[in-house]
C-alpha cells in the first residue's frame, strides 16, 4: 500500500501543486526586484515543470518523462550558474542586485 493510495493522490493533485508552484515562481519573477529572488523564483518555475513531467510520467507509466526531468535539472544547474554569473557581473558594475536599477534599454 503506497502513500498515494492512502491519500488517494491522483495526477490532478500533482498538476494543481505544479500550477501553484509555477504561479508562485511567475509572481516572484514579475514582482520581485532582487535578482537573487528572481533566480530562485525561476528555479521554482523549473521545478514546477519537473513536477508536471514526473506526474505525467507516473500516470502514463512511461519513464521518459523522468529521464527528461533529470536533464532539466542538469540544465537548471547550468542556468543557475549563468544566472549567478550575470548577478555577480551586475553587482560588480552597480554595487546592487536590484533589477530596476538596470533600465538602459528603455525606449
Amino acid at each position: 500500500m503506497s502513500l498515494a493510495n492512502v491519500w488517494n493522490v491522483g495526477t490532478e493533485h500533482y498538476l494543481a501543486l505544479s500550477l501553484l508552484l509555477f504561479g508562485i515562481g511567475l509572481f516572484g519573477v514579475i514582482n520581485r526586484r532582487n535578482l537573487i529572488t528572481i533566480l530562485m523564483s525561476i528555479e521554482l518555475m523549473l521545478n514546477a515543470v519537473n513536477l508536471n513531467l514526473v506526474a505525467f510520467s507516473y500516470q502514463r507509466g512511461d519513464l521518459l518523462g523522468q529521464v527528461f526531468t533529470v536533464f532539466t535539472i542538469t540544465v537548471a544547474a547550468g542556468e543557475a550558474a549563468v544566472g549567478l554569473g550575470i548577478l555577480l557581473a551586475m553587482f560588480r558594475l552597480r554595487q546592487t542586485t536590484r533589477v530596476d536599477s538596470a533600465q538602459e534599454l528603455e525606449g
Binding site: 519573477v29 514579475i30 520581485r32 526586484r33 533589477v99 533600465q103 538602459e104 528603455e106 525606449g107
Partner: protein, 689 residues
C-alpha cells in the same frame, strides 16, 4: 611654237611659286628681281614668238589649245532654256585669235617693262618679295583672263586679277587709307561681279557651255530666238548683255561703279600703271568686245554702254581738271579714257575700242611710270602744288611724261591721236539716235583731256620748284631699270597708233582689218565698223579734234606755266562748279549715305533681329521654357515625391513614438508580457483547437 602657248601663263606662275614659296625670307632683292623679271620677260618673249607664229600662218582662224575638261557633260545637270535639262560642259583652254593676240601682246609687253621698272622703284622697300610675288600672280591671272577660251576660264582670271588688285592696292597695309582703298576696290568689284556671274549663269543655262566658240556658233544659229522677250522686258541677249556690262562697269571703273579706282592709287605707282591703267581695268572692254555677238543682238544695251561710256568719259575728265594729286589726275584720266573705249564698244566700233585700249595701255603706263619717277625723285611727294620746275632737273622723266601727255591729248603723230580719232569718227558715223551728242561729248572730253594733262605737266615740270627746299637737293634721275621702261613705252606711245592709220589718211587701218574676224557679222546688217563718212568729213573731224587739243594745251600751259595761282583764281570765279568738281560731285558721300549706311542699317536691323527675335525670343525663350518646366518638375518632386517619402517617415515616426513606451527597460515588465502572452496563446489554443 604656238603649241607652247600654255607656257606663257605658266612661266609667271613658276615665278610666283619660286618667289612666294621657295626663295625664303632672306632672299636678296637681286634674286627676287631676277626671278620675277626673268619669268615675266621669258613669258613676254615666248608670247612674242607665239604671236609671230600665229601671224605668219595665213589663216586667221582662232587657235584653241584645249588643256583639260573642267566640268564634263553629265556632271552637273542644269535647267535648259528650252525646258529640258542640258548638260553643262566647260573646258579649260587657251584661245589665240586676233583679239587675244592684241591683249596677250599688251599684257606681256607692258607687264614685263613694269616689272623691270618696279625693281628700281621698289628697291629697299620692305615687302619687296611680296610685291613681286603679287605682281607675277597678277600677270598669271591677267593672262588667263585674256587667253581663256571660255567665260569660265575668263572668269577665273577675272577674279584672280581682282584679288591681286586688292592685294596690291593694300600693299602698304599698315596705312589705314591703303587698306580701306583695297577693301573698297574689292567690294565695289563684287557688285559688278555679281551681275557678271548672273549673266554667265544665264549663258550656261541657255547653251549648256561657256566656251566662246560653241556659244558663238549657237548664237549665230539662233540669233532671232535670242531677241525674243526674256525677263524684265529684256530679250535674252539684252539680259546677258546688261549683266556682262554691269560686270564690266565694276572692273573697268565706269559709272556707277568707278569710285574705287581713284582710291586704288594708294598702291605703289607701278601697280597703278600696270593694273589700274594698262591691263586689268581694260578687262571690261575686253569682255564687251569678246561678247560682241550678244551686244549686237541687244541694240538697247549697246546704246546704254555707249551713253554710260560717254558720260563717264566727260565726268571723269571734269574731275581730273581740279585734282591736285598727280596720281589722282591720272586715275580720273584712266576712267575717262576707259569711258572712251566703252563709247566705241557701245557704238559697235569694237576694233576702235581695242585699238584705243592698246594705245592707252602704252601711253597711260608711260604717264604713270613717269609720274612714279617724279614721286620717287621727290621722296614720295604727290601734290602738284608742291612740284614745279622739274623739266631741267629730271629731263628724261619730263620728256617721257611730255610724250605720254601728247599721246593722250591726241596730237597728230602720237598713238592717242589715231585711236581717239577712230572712236570719234565711229561716233560721228554711227546711225544710232543721238550720236551727234555722243560725238560732241567725245570731242569735249578730248579737249578736257588735253587741258588737264597739260595742266598737270605744267604744274609738275614748268615754273619754279615749289616743294621743300631740302628735298630739292635730293632730286635725282631714276636708275636705268626705271629709265629703260620709260624709253620703251615712250616709243610705244609714239608709234603704237601707226598700226591703225585710217584709210582716209592713206593708211590701211591694219589694226581694224586684223580684228575684223573677231566681230561677228549677222546677215542683213551693215557692220558698224566701216565709217560711212566721206573722206573729207573724216579729215575735217580730225582737224577739228586736233585744233581743239592744241588750243586746250596752249590754254593749260598759259594758265599753269607759273604755278597753280592763276588756276586757283579762275576757280574762285566759278565757286559752285569748282566745288562740284573738287568734291567729285559728292558721289562717294552719296554712296556712303545711301548704300554704305543702308547696308549698315540693314546689318544693324539684322543684328537686332538676331539679338531680339532669335537670341532673346527663340533661344532665351527655349531657355525660359525649360526653366519653367524644370520649376514645375521641381515642385512635383518636392511636394509629391518627397511628400510621400516624408509622409511615410512621419507615419513611422508617429507609430514609433507610441511603441517606444512598450520598451520600458524593466525586465519584470517583459517577463510579465511574456507570461501574459503565453497565457493568451494557450487560451486561444484552448478555444480554437
Amino acid at each position: 611654237m604656238r603649241d607652247l602657248l600654255w607656257l606663257v601663263p605658266l612661266l609667271p606662275l613658276l615665278g610666283v611659286l619660286a618667289n612666294g614659296l621657295l626663295v625664303g625670307r632672306r632672299a636678296s632683292e637681286k634674286t627676287v628681281a631676277w626671278i620675277a623679271c626673268g619669268s615675266s620677260g621669258a613669258a613676254a618673249v615666248l608670247a612674242l614668238g607665239v604671236i609671230a607664229d600665229y601671224l605668219r600662218s595665213m589663216s586667221p582662224r582662232p587657235f584653241d589649245l584645249h588643256l583639260w575638261d573642267w566640268m564634263s557633260p553629265g556632271a552637273l545637270p542644269t535647267g535648259g532654256g528650252g525646258g529640258g535639262p542640258v548638260n553643262l560642259s566647260i573646258g579649260f583652254g587657251l584661245l589665240l585669235d586676233p583679239l587675244s593676240v592684241v591683249m596677250l601682246f599688251v599684257v606681256t609687253f607692258v607687264g614685263f617693262w613694269i616689272h623691270l621698272y618696279s625693281v628700281g622703284y621698289m628697291a629697299g622697300e620692305p615687302g619687296f618679295r611680296r610685291y613681286f610675288t603679287y605682281l607675277n600672280l597678277f600677270l598669271v591671272a591677267m593672262l588667263v583672263l585674256v587667253l581663256g577660251d571660255g567665260y569660265a576660264s575668263m572668269f577665273l582670271g577675272w577674279e584672280g586679277v581682282g584679288l591681286c588688285s586688292y592685294l596690291l592696292i593694300g600693299f602698304y597695309f599698315d596705312r589705314e587709307s591703303a587698306a580701306d582703298a583695297g577693301r573698297k576696290a574689292f567690294i565695289v568689284n563684287r557688285i559688278g561681279d555679281f551681275a557678271l556671274l548672273a549673266g554667265l549663269f544665264a549663258l550656261a543655262g541657255r547653251f549648256g557651255t561657256l566656251q566662246f566658240a560653241e556659244i558663238g556658233s549657237q548664237i549665230a544659229a539662233s540669233a532671232e530666238a535670242l531677241r525674243a522677250p526674256y525677263v524684265l522686258g529684256l530679250s535674252f541677249a539684252g539680259f546677258v548683255a546688261l549683266c556682262l556690262f554691269l560686270g564690266a562697269t565694276g572692273k573697268s571703273a565706269q559709272i556707277p561703279l568707278y569710285i574705287w579706282l581713284p582710291d586704288a592709287m594708294a598702291g605703289p605707282t607701278p601697280v597703278s600703271a600696270l593694273i589700274h591703267a594698262a591691263t586689268m581695268v581694260t578687262a571690261g572692254v575686253y569682255l564687251v568686245v569678246r561678247s560682241n555677238a550678244i551686244f549686237q543682238l541687244a541694240p538697247g544695251i549697246s546704246a546704254l554702254v555707249a551713253w554710260v561710256g560717254a558720260a563717264t568719259a566727260l565726268v571723269a575728265a571734269g574731275f581730273a581738271l581740279v585734282q591736285t594729286d598727280l596720281k589722282k589726275v591720272l586715275a580720273y584720266s584712266t576712267i575717262s579714257q576707259l569711258g572712251y573705249m566703252f563709247l566705241a564698244a557701245g557704238l559697235g566700233a569694237y576694233a576702235a575700242a581695242i585699238f584705243h585700249l592698246a594705245t592707252h595701255a602704252f601711253f597711260k603706263a608711260l604717264l604713270f611710270l613717269a609720274a612714279g619717277a617724279v614721286i620717287h625723285a621727290l621722296g614720295g611727294e604727290q601734290d602738284l602744288r608742291r612740284m614745279g620746275g622739274l623739266w631741267t632737273r629730271l629731263p628724261r622723266t619730263a620728256r617721257a611724261f611730255g610724250i605720254g601727255a601728247l599721246a593722250i591729248a591726241g596730237i597728230l603723230p602720237f598713238a592717242g591721236f589715231w585711236s581717239k580719232d577712230a572712236i570719234l569718227s565711229a561716233a560721228a558715223a554711227s546711225g544710232s539716235s543721238g550720236h551727234w551728242i555722243l560725238y560732241a561729248i567725245g570731242l569735249t572730253t578730248a579737249g578736257l583731256t588735253a587741258f588737264y594733262m597739260f595742266r598737270a605737266f605744267a604744274l609738275a615740270f614748268l615754273g619754279s620748284f615749289r616743294g621743300d627746299p631740302k628735298s630739292e637737293h635730293h632730286l635725282h634721275e631714276a636708275p636705268w631699270t626705271m629709265a629703260l621702261p620709260l624709253f620703251v613705252l615712250a616709243v610705244g606711245a609714239v608709234a603704237a597708233g601707226w598700226l591703225g592709220i585710217p584709210e582716209a589718211l592713206g593708211g590701211e587701218n591694219r589694226f581694224g582689218r586684223f580684228l575684223e574676224p573677231v566681230v561677228v557679222k549677222f546677215s542683213g546688217r551693215a557692220p558698224a565698223e566701216h565709217s560711212g563718212l566721206s573722206q573729207a568729213a573724216e579729215i575735217g573731224g580730225m582737224a577739228l579734234a586736233l585744233a581743239l587739243a592744241v588750243a586746250a594745251i596752249l590754254l593749260a600751259l598759259r594758265i599753269y606755266r607759273a604755278g597753280p595761282e592763276r588756276g586757283a583764281a579762275i576757280a574762285r570765279r566759278f565757286p559752285r562748279l569748282h566745288s562740284v568738281l573738287a568734291n567729285k560731285a559728292w558721289v562717294d558721300e552719296i554712296y556712303d549715305a545711301t548704300i554704305v549706311r543702308g547696308t549698315w542699317g540693314l546689318s544693324r536691323l539684322a543684328a537686332k533681329f538676331d539679338a531680339g527675335a532669335i537670341d532673346r525670343g527663340l533661344v532665351e525663350g527655349a531657355g525660359r521654357l525649360t526653366v519653367f518646366g524644370a520649376w514645375i518638375s521641381g515642385l512635383f518632386d518636392r511636394h509629391v515625391v518627397d511628400g510621400l517619402v516624408n509622409f511615410s517617415a512621419w507615419l513611422l515616426d508617429r507609430f514609433s513614438r507610441s511603441l517606444r513606451r512598450v520598451q520600458t527597460g524593466a525586465v519584470s515588465n517583459y517577463a510579465f508580457a511574456l507570461a501574459l502572452s503565453a497565457f493568451v496563446l494557450v487560451c486561444l489554443y484552448a478555444v480554437w483547437r
